[in-house]
Structure formats: C-alpha cells, structure tokens
Symmetry: C2
Subunit: 193 residues, 2 copies
C-alpha cells in the first residue's frame, strides 16, 4: 500500500489528542481506486497468514463501510455493517453490544441482525482505524455471540501506540493493518516500514 502511505504522509493531519484527520480519502471523501486497492491488499495479507476461505465481512457504520465493501468485492462475499442506531427494519431480537467512542466521546451501541450473521459464517472484521481497539473488540464480541467463526481482523490504519493490538490478542486471530503509524508528534507522522 505505497499509495496509502503516500496519502497519509501528504494529506493526513494530526489534530492532537491522537486524532488523525484523513477526511480527504477515508472518512468524508473516498478515493474509489485507493479503496478498491485496500480490499485487494487485505485479501493478499490474509492469504499470507493462511486465511483463504471467507464467507462474510463484518464492519461498523460509518467509516468502515467503504474498506469493508472493497474487501467484500475482493472476496466476492457479502458485507454486514453493524448499525449504531436500530432502524425500524430490524427484528425485535438482535445482537447488540456497547463500545466507548474514541473520536465522538460517550458510548456507541453496535447492532447486528441475526438474519445476516449465523453460525456457519467465516468472518473477517474490517474497519478503518485500529486505535484503542474498543470498536473492533465490540464487533468481535458480536461475531462470537452470533456463533459465527471469527477468522481475522483487518484495519486500514493502525496507531500502534494506542494498544489496540494488545486488546484484541485474546481473540487469538491474525490482526492485519495496511499501514502502521508509530508516532504522531506535531506535524510529524511516522510510519512503520
């Protein structure tokens, strides 16, 4: 993902408090070519760690949808995005969990309908950021609650200094990130090689 590294270094802005602004290609505006490449890169990275058979991609609205859809395209499998508010189209009984929000403050609820996440599913979780890992931790709990098998976790950008990878260790699955940020100090954003 050389292009992703380049975009983070040229367009990313450290807003302080651990917040990286990448609205120009990930969180408000999307670059379709770059997004498509993210999906193919996730597939290639998961194949390296031995994950070849996948039946479903799971993410959380809003910013996870684009990289998750691209990953679904790369595998040709459906994508389920957990909702943060229950739409009236959902059945009465759902899988629901809570996670503290890093960028918005407070607690967010994540809701998945049992119609679309079932025990035979072989699941990859895809999200935009891996920071504290709380959102992905909650998503992985939802996947486990459904009886589906969690195979791996993929994040577009990991901030290695916020402990997310350690938080997810107990799931015992590979955690793949396309770019790892090791330091954000003023206007200086440092990437792992």
């Amino acid at each position: 993902m050389d292009e992703l590294r380049r975009r983070i270094l040229t367009e990313g802005r450290n807003l302080g408090g651990g917040i990286l602004k990448v609205d120009s290609f990930l969180n408000h505006q999307l670059d379709p070519e770059l997004t498509g490449a993210m999906g193919r890169s996730f597939r290639a990275a998961f194949e390296v760690v031995g994950i070849t058979e996948v039946s479903k991609i799971v993410t959380a609205e809003v910013s996870g949808i684009a990289p998750a859809l691209a990953t679904g395209m790369a595998y040709g499998v459906p994508v389920v995005y957990a909702r943060k508010r229950r739409p009236i189209t959902m059945p009465d009984t759902v899988f629901s969990t809570q996670a503290p929000s890093h960028t918005k403050g407070g607690v967010i609820e994540l809701i998945v309908s049992p119609e679309y996440l079932t025990p035979p599913d072989l699941v990859l979780i895809i999200d935009d950021f891996l920071a504290t890992g709380r959102t992905v931790d909650a998503l992985a709990d939802l996947v486990r609650a459904s009886g589906a098998t969690l195979l791996g976790i993929g994040c577009v950008i990991e901030k290695t200094f916020e402990g997310g990878r350690e938080r997810l260790k107990h799931f015992g699955v590979p955690v793949v990130s396309l770019v790892r940020i090791t330091e954000m100090d003023g206007s200086n954003i440092r990437l792992a090689p």
Copy 2:
C-alpha cells in the same frame, strides 16, 4: 438491473407505512457484486441522458455510501458522503442543511466540508432510496450552496407514489432510478416495467 428487480421481489418486505425492508442487500448487508453493478448501471443511465463528464459523487451517510462508492468506481472519481453529525475532524465553517427523516423520524442534519465540494465540481448525487425526496433535496441544496454544478440525481430504488420526483423537478436535472416501485400493498410489491 434484472438482478436488482429479482432481489427486491424475492427479499424485499413491505413493513407498512411505506417502509420497504431490503436489509439483505442494501441497508444492513451488502452484496458486493450487485453493488458494483449498480454503479455501472448509473453510469450507463446517465450517459443515455447525455451526462458524460462527472468529477464527483455526493451522497449521505449511511446507506448511500455503498451505491455511491460503486458509482465513483464506475467513473473513477471521488465520492463525498455528507455526515449527519459533525466529526471533530471538520473545519469550523461547513455547508450544512436539514431534512426531515422518513425512516427515523425527526430532523437530520447533513454536513459537507467545503474542502471537498468546490465550484469546479461536476456532481452526481447518488442515494439508496427516492421516496419523498427530502434527503436528496437537501443534498442538492448543499451542492448548490457550494457553488458546484449539479448534473444529475441517481437513486437505487424509487417509490413513485411518494412524490420525490416532483419535489426534485425544480433542480432541472435528470433523475435516474434503477428500479421503480409503483405500488406496495400488503405483501405485494409492484415494479414499473
């Protein structure tokens, strides 16, 4: 979009009150192949009405993102999704408007950063549903407020009996829908030919 018609007729459920549940492929779970086909169909339909040069796709979070991204992929142009809550990464001054929500009740705010919508932009608006047209109306107002040129409007599913197309007439641009539902009566969903 024969496949989209088939999916609506076999998987769509009329929940009453004008609400069509298509969570299995559009609003909670996504079918990547079908979503990709939507993007290509929008491009083909806009070319029929003479729209060939497009520089940006605009949609609203959450359910617009997938068909908008697919359309951005079909054109190779960026996609901007209006936010419903202002993230801390946005500048102080933004384009903002309000629209009544059909499925959630109350009023939703739509916010776009002027960083990603500018006067030279040639814009297509893409959304999942065209019902009363209020969300798309608000999006089109945002595009106009930015000084960008609105070329056309595309919606995956139009419910022709809710007046959306009439509401959007004053913009004077082509309105394309991939499937038009003309009647929802009990379990009976009728599509325009």
